[in-house]
Amino acid sequence: MKPNDPDIRWVKEPPMGPTGKTYLSLFLGGFTTTLKHLVSKKKTIPFPDRHYECPDPLIYRGVHRLNRDDQGRVKCVACFLCSTACPAYCIDIVAAESPWPDREKYPESFTIDELRCIYCGMCEEACPVDAIELTSLFDLSGKSREEMIFDKEKLLAVYDMTKDAEPRRTAGRPPTPPRDTGGPS
Amino acid sequence: MNPVALVHDYLAVGALLFGIGLIGLISRRNLIVMFLSVEIMLQGVSLSLVAWSRFHGDEGGQVFILFIIAVAACEAAVALALILMLSCQAGNLDVAGWRRLREEGIEPPVDPGPETLPPPAPDWIPLTPVGRAPDVPPEETDYRPYV
């Protein structure tokens, strides 16, 4: 961008008047704001005693889960779009031909390194079949690094744990039509 | 303490400071260290003045020291400005770099000069243990560490 670009609109801040230049109102304004907050109600939640209730779990970005489809199988089609979108390179997928007649491809293994993850939600955005989602579980902890590398079973278990509290984002979408195995139509 | 003894001791300390400062002024080559040496000499003189002031029971000596401090402050200001100028032009604080400022017909000072010195040994900063590179022979780096 050049400074003399005609498309740039230069905005000038309004000059400060003599009363403003005494800085008294600014000075007192800052002070009163501080004092107001000093005596106002505190918003801290004492964590282990009381838990945070996520007002909208759909927009919270916590631990991942792998959704199941209607028949309880993993919904993921192993398209690698989440691992491609992942800025932290924390998703590792091994794809294989699916054992089910209505699907072509499925993840033989699906691993997320939760320690490496930055919880940006890009995987969720990228997923074409809404198979990976971020839940509102935030108090993730473990005793070892290995424990924090979630494999497919663990991610599906997260889904089983949270599916009642947090429905799938696209619960309303019709299931994919069964695969046409006949000859030329 | 005996006043004469006391003033004697003070004067001796002052004389020592003066001598040390003189040696430093003559022999050191760093402009700032030379300046510090001058200040050491001034402090020696100040000590003598305090001693005499006490010996005579008169504030004159102390007042004189106040003036010395004032002069030192002026000196510091001007000298620092000059040193900054000079070091900015020469790129270092070496006084030997300014030997051309002598009068006509006077021999240049005999000086070993920095150029005759062996180059100083590189003062490598030791790495902290976590930052040390693994000890891999160079030809090994061509190969991946796993199959």
Binding site: P14, P15, L35, L38 | -
Partner: protein, 407 residues
């Protein structure tokens, strides 16, 4: 010998008190910070191994323990001698200042000891004629701590942090001194005890008589103690942590305690020089001969005032944004230095001709002095407003008219 023991006891009391106060004021500061940010603050640490939380009063012990038991890491690239010397100089200088700062007035009794015929004066080095200059000298030494730890760390961020800090401290010593000079002129002494008793006897605290000097000293005191909005040395949110980037463990503790002690020093000086020290109207009296209750009351009043000042320091931290470094320097050299000189000149003239003028106008001398002082402040403030470079108002705009003007 008695004198010797008396001084030793005073020193021990003072250091113990200061260290405890520093520890607990850290807790108070954390509480204040939390409350201002609508949080609760540390409220967990109480009695160890029990569920008793005591509102978090055990936090200082835990903090201190953490500092002591943390790994004290010395980077391999530092200049070892100076790296160790830096924090020591800082802590020593910060503590040494308190030699001349009174923490009360006098204790009347002789404790049944024959040698203690004179009342005990509550200051480590009583009767130090050059008390205020001593404060300055020792404060000047504190600069070395920052400079040395920055340089010895052998790290460009630390070095620049040290230089930043040193430049700020050196610059603000001038307005600090100019703010004091007015008080010294009025009291006629550099001794802090004398200055307090002078205010107590006249009944008018100095901030009423010379508000300009007070403002200058107050601002410079903030800057000298390196607190927000003058914490350019650290600027923990924006710059790498300043000269103590490379420090950890006890050495870091020393640096931080000495920064806290600087705040105490500044608060004590503000209270003693401008808020009448231990004096409070109708409570503490003003004579040098006191009874036990009055003596204790004086200590309480002085410490209470100091505590209030410290609380103001803490609130100020969250109230105003930080200066830019050029603004900081400009404030010291272009605003406060001339104003300090103006204050000094006005006071000097007033000291010479004030009584005559007061008599001529029929006002009481104190009232006339106060009037002159506040007038000077008003004039100085207006001058600053007049000469200040045009600034722009970057507060959020509410009026649509202004929006239009913007375009």
């Amino acid at each position: 010998m008695l004198f010797f023991f008396e001084t030793l006891i005073k020193i021990a009391l003072l250091i113990a008190g200061l260290m405890t106060a520093a520890a607990y004021l850290v807790l108070v500061e954390r509480w204040m910070a939390a409350w201002i940010q609508d949080r609760v603050g540390p409220n967990r640490v109480g009695v160890p191994l029990t569920k008793i939380r005591l509102f978090g009063l055990g936090q200082p012990a835990a903090d201190g323990g953490k500092f002591f038991f943390k790994e004290e890491f010395t980077p391999g690239h530092v200049d070892r001698a100076l790296y160790f010397l830096g924090p020591m100089i800082m802590l020593t200088a910060a503590l040494a200042v308190f030699a001349v700062i009174p923490f009360g007035s006098v204790l009347p009794t002789r404790f049944g000891v024959e040698g203690l015929s004179e009342p005990i004066r509550l200051v480590v080095a009583p009767g130090m004629a050059a008390g205020l200059v001593y404060v300055f000298a020792v404060n000047g030494l504190a600069v070395y701590g920052a400079l040395l730890s920055g340089w010895a760390s052998n790290n460009k961020y630390s070095l620049l942090g040290g230089l930043r800090s040193a430049a700020q401290l050196v610059s603000y010593e001038l307005p600090l001194g100019l703010g004091i000079l007015g008080v010294v002129l009025v009291a006629g002494s550099l001794d802090l005890e004398t200055i307090i008793s002078h205010q107590a006897q006249s009944g008018a605290w100095n901030f009423m008589l010379q508000p300009l000097g007070f403002v200058i000293f107050f601002v410079a005191g903030f800057a000298e103690s390196g607190r927000l909005p003058f914490d350019l040395a650290e600027s923990e949110q924006e710059l790498v942590g300043g000269y103590h980037t490379e420090y950890s463990g006890v050495k870091l503790l020393m640096i931080m305690v000495s920064e806290y002690l600087h705040m105490f020093t500044a608060s004590f000086l503000i209270v003693i020089l401008f808020f009448g020290g231990w004096h409070f109207w109708g409570l503490t009296g003003s004579s040098d001969v006191v009874t036990w209750p009055v003596a204790l009351l004086r200590v309480v009043v002085l410490l209470g005032k100091v505590l209030l000042t410290i609380l103001f320091f803490m609130v100020a931290r969250w109230s105003w944004p930080r200066f830019r470094f050029d603004q900081l320097m400009g404030l010291a050299w272009k605003v406060m230095l001339p104003l300090g000189l103006l204050n000094l000149v006005v006071l000097a003239v007033w000291m010479e001709y004030g009584r005559a003028v007061a008599e001529a106008t029929g006002l009481s001398y104190l009232a006339a002095t106060a009037a002159v002082g506040w007038g000077t402040l008003a004039v100085a403030w207006l001058a600053v407003v007049w000469f200040a470079p045009s600034a722009s108002d970057n507060r959020p705009q509410r009026s649509p008219v202004v929006q239009e003007v913007c375009r």
